[in-house]
């Protein structure tokens, strides 16, 4: 892949993670100052309702629909993991 494309892809990924962290912190969970993209979402209180609401927000804000069959506790456990999952679903081919 061209280095320019890689830089753009990395920028997109970083900005997606930042935006996703904001959505989780403000719209889904009540979090403390130490909460970051590696904090465990389930330990922070994520439950079925919050998961569903987060999936809807991801669709609305990023245009990525995450199929329930692909969701696991491992790939949904932090904002960073979720962002990687979104990247893999959004990638062409």
């Amino acid at each position: 892949m061209h280095s320019g494309s890689m830089a753009t892809a990395n920028d997109d990924h970083c900005s997606r993670r930042t935006k996703l962290l904001g959505l989780v912190s403000h719209d889904i969970l009540e979090v403390g100052p130490d909460f970051d993209e590696h904090s465990n979402l389930f330990d922070a209180g994520l439950d079925s309702m919050a998961i569903m609401q987060l999936l809807i927000l991801i669709e609305q804000n990023f245009g990525v629909r995450l199929p329930a069959a692909k969701l696991t506790r491992a790939n949904f456990s932090s904002v960073a993991d979720l962002a990687r999952l979104m990247d893999s679903e959004a990638a062409p081919g």
Binding site: I28, E30, G45, D47, S48, Q53, A69, L71, T72
Partner: protein
């Protein structure tokens, strides 16, 4: 209104008013109101003096624990008003099973057994015993050396998650001299025009009209009736709970437990109907879901729930997998359609309706029934609850009361990797034999395979008659 009622402390929300309507119906029909009981089971006896001191702190800090709900006759707005007592005293009532050791210098009342005592306390009017109007605290010393901390509370005060916050506040009191840990919200709804409120509320109202076409029944039937509250519990150990989780993941994936447990509750209730020689064509089940933002301890003193209404036809209950998938699909559909927000708005719109009128609407719409049965999954009980003043916590769960109608409820919760299942019912709405059938179906559906795999760990919670 403080002229007549005492100082107003907090307004009731829409969800609180829904509970108020149920509570009033229950009082009118000899059911003692909608209460909940929270049990914290320990492997030894906690430092009783510290429990008492913490209880005193809670009583001093939270006037809502002794407050009264009154409806303004002019505005019809319901609110908590300060109780008449100038000093709020919240004792920790001490009991001991015969053979249990009572610490020196302590006075405790002997009881025949935990089961008999719990049955007795569950069927007493809250506020009639030694405690505050809306909360009692008891500590039962068990003959095996363990103990049971019991909080009995009115559902008007909060929901199950709120009760867990109160347990947290009891076992983790703030340092002396610091502010009370539990905020009381203003309960003022956001400023939204009536037109906008109606627009938001419309989707769930449309769903109600659809649901009303499919007549459903509860074990109690549509007419309110008195009856003692009974309950039975199952507690699955860590290994069994892991097996349950694995079976759930195979059916619906690892993340959405809500639909799986609902499917289990539906099939279990169907078992009770089949034993009566009937097999209802439809079920409509109300499922409360938290609308508190998850995470840090937030507001306890409210019913912070909305309700999703699931509709299942008999044919979809023939297998756990099919029922769970359909429940999950409805959950997704209702969440996408923002029916959670829609029902919250309906509750806000109905907030000022007198309780009798409130329920008259429900009963007219659904032929007297409220829901086929009550059901909830409260998730992990107060993550981090490890010990109570020196005594290690071995289990914690709720015993919800149920009104009749519907007469029964199945409730699921987790504590430290163990699944607790409570079946509550009203005498006259269901029988002990039906309770056995319900729980046998729960065991088989959750664990599969040989039902003898399961070894019950807890008592039945039912006093012998």
């Amino acid at each position: 209104m403080s002229l007549f009622f005492g100082k107003e402390l907090a307004r009731l929300t829409g969800a609180d008013c829904f509970v108020l309507a149920l509570d009033r119906m229950m009082h009118r029909h000899g059911q003692h109101g909608l209460i909940g009981q929270t049990h914290v089971r320990m492997n030894s006896v906690p430092d009783i003096a510290r429990v008492e001191e913490s209880a005193r702190g809670l009583a001093a800090a939270h006037p809502l624990l002794d407050a009264v709900v009154r409806r303004n006759p002019f505005t019809l707005r319901a609110a908590w008003h300060e109780g008449r007592r100038t000093e709020r005293h919240l004792p920790v009532n001490l009991w001991f099973e015969k053979g249990a050791c009572v610490p020196d210098g302590r006075r405790a009342t002997e009881i025949a057994s935990e089961d008999v005592w719990v049955d007795h306390v569950l069927n007493q009017q809250l506020g009639s015993r030694n405690g505050l109007r809306n909360l009692h605290i008891d500590l039962v010393l068990l003959r095996g050396g363990g103990s049971l901390l019991v909080l009995t509370w009115t559902h008007l005060l909060f929901d199950g998650k709120g009760a867990e916050f109160l347990v947290d506040a009891l076992v983790n009191p703030p340092p002396p001299g610091s502010a009370a840990a539990l905020p009381v919200p203003p309960a003022v709804p956001p400023r939204v025009t009536l037109r906008e409120r109606i627009r938001i509320a419309t989707p769930v109202v449309e769903r109600f009209f659809g649901l009303a076409a499919d007549r459903y029944v509860s074990l109690a039937g549509p007419h309110p009736r008195p009856g003692r509250l009974r309950f039975r519990m199952l507690t699955f150990d860590v290994g069994s709970t892991e097996r349950i989780q694995a079976r759930m993941e195979a059916a619906v994936g690892p993340l959405f437990r809500i639909g799986y447990f609902l499917a289990c509750a539906l099939r279990a209730h169907r078992q009770a109907f089949l034993a009566r020689g009937s097999d209802p064509a439809h079920y409509v089940v109300s499922l409360p879901v938290q609308i508190r933002k998850k995470g840090l301890g937030t507001v306890p003193f409210q019913n912070c729930v909305t309700i999703l209404f699931f509709a299942m036809a008999r044919a979809s209950l023939d297998s756990m997998a099919a029922a769970a998938k359909l429940a999950q699909a409805q959950f997704e559909e209702m969440t996408r359609g923002r029916l959670d927000r829609s029902f919250t708005q309906v509750l806000e719109l109905l907030r000022r309706l007198p309780s009798a009128v409130y329920l008259a609407f429900v009963r007219r719409q659904f032929g007297g029934e409220i829901t086929a049965f009550f059901h909830s999954f409260t998730g992990e009980f107060s993550a981090g609850l490890g010990d109570v003043f020196g005594a290690r916590v071995t289990n914690a769960y709720h015993i919800p009361s149920v009104s009749a109608p519907p007469g029964s409820g199945l409730f699921f919760g987790l504590f430290n990797g163990r699944l607790n299942v409570t079946f509550s019912w009203r005498e006259g709405s269901a029988t002990r034999e039906e309770a056995d059938l319900v729980l046998a179906r729960v065991r088989e559906d959750l664990l599969g395979g040989d039902p003898t795999d399961f070894q019950p760990e807890e008592g039945t919670g039912c006093a012998p008659t």
